[in-house]
Amino acid sequence: MDPSVYWNPILETMPREKLQALQLKKFKRIFTWAYDNSPFYRRLYRDAGIEPGDIKTFADIRKVPKIEKSMMREIQGPGKNNYPYGDILCVPKTDVCSYRQTSGTTGQPVYQADSWQDWEWGIEAYSHALWAQTYRNTDRMLLPFGYNIFVAFWAAHYAAEKLGVEVVPGGVLNTEARILKMQELEANAMAATVSYVLNMGRVAREKMGIDPAKDLNIQKITVAGEPGGSIPATRQRMEELWGAKVYDQCGSTEIGHWGWECHHQAGLHVNEAFFLFEIEDLETGEIITEPGKKGRLVATALDRTAQPCIRFDAKDIIQWNAEPCACGRSFWRLDGGIIGRADDITKVKGVLWAPSAVEEVVRGFAQLSDEYQIILSKKGDADQIELKVELMPGYENNEADVRHALLAKLRLQTNLNYLLDFKTYGDLPRFEGKGKRFQDLRHN
């Protein structure tokens, strides 16, 4: 294998048993660091009766209490120590150089502090992704996102610069201006959310008369923020719309940039040199080590020191793929990327159901637009799923046929029935950031 395909061949091709030894060593280090420097973590661990000397094996790691967003909300905010970060902070506030926050879609935003050291580490983590996706110093990448308080593609910007990629910041430009800038500069790469990649492409084609696949030069796109990058039908739509290769990438404000597809586009690699990933069974909470079984991600950022992230319940649903990738990396992969959010995966009529399964079906129909909305509700005691979709222009007379085929496919894929509502093209919301397409009203 050509070593130049790796950002860091030492870490990326490390034998699995060595990689696990590295993770254990690093876990002990970050645990000790947090215990010694963060009142929050020390309190948490003392209450659980665990201290640094107790961590000797992976089994010991599983005794370490998990953290989650709600715990951050309790220690952060006005009137709390070390405002706004709370007493999780492990460094003096004078060492904090960067503020970000979560979007707050599930409650009060979580505030995230980074020292310059952590910022460099985060950029290094993202560099693995871009290099694996063939970004090089011959590329010109336009970043069409609002450079603001959310972490979004900030690390992509700095990692691309580190690789030598020429970065065009598409900050406050509107969608049309971004497309024109892309065309003017012959940019050959971009990174955005799945929803925005689709939306931009439609705006170019339908409002501007620009066919992204023919009139623009975009050859590779990194997507993040939504599951669609690993949903085959959604990926196919993006690739056809733009005439480009689409690579999935994932991460979060609290954890960092932990997963990415390599150029083989064969599932998300997880960066096991910088992070520890544990998958918990959805019902029993037991740790899943075997491939092919879905569970929720518990993640540790092994080297993030200002505001450590140790055994964070990410509420992402994933499953291992331990088959070797053709790229030669020893990092394991995830089948289907992030399959869904634990908050969204729910039982409907007794069947375990995820919105991403519906997306895969809807986006497999060329007669339907990119957009859809799902509303779960109750009719009497029975669960009901309403699915709103749009017919593409030119297919308005095909509703009966599409309805029949769509219901059949949905039933096959999810074992459930749906109430279909066909909307006029353009009626459903479009998104620049993460799309919001699912509501569960059953408990309102």
Partner: protein
């Protein structure tokens, strides 16, 4: 094709860089421009420790 690198030598060079950075800071008499640039350099050196030295500790153990 296997990459050609000398892990031991890389670790030594990284430690030398780290030491040089600390020594430069020590003799700079608090000049802010030096101090803050050393902070940035030190963060990059730390990333190389994570990239190389941590791995070397594991890979070279028992050699």
């Amino acid at each position: 094709m296997k990459p050609e690198f000398d892990l031991n030598a890389m670790v030594q060079k990284i430690q030398t860089l780290k030491q040089n950075a600390a020594e430069l800071k020590a003799v700079a008499g608090g000049i802010v421009a030096v101090d803050r640039n050393i902070n940035r350099i030190s963060a990059s050196i730390r990333v190389m420790e994570l990239d190389i030295c941590d791995a070397a500790d594991i890979l070279l153990a028992g050699d």
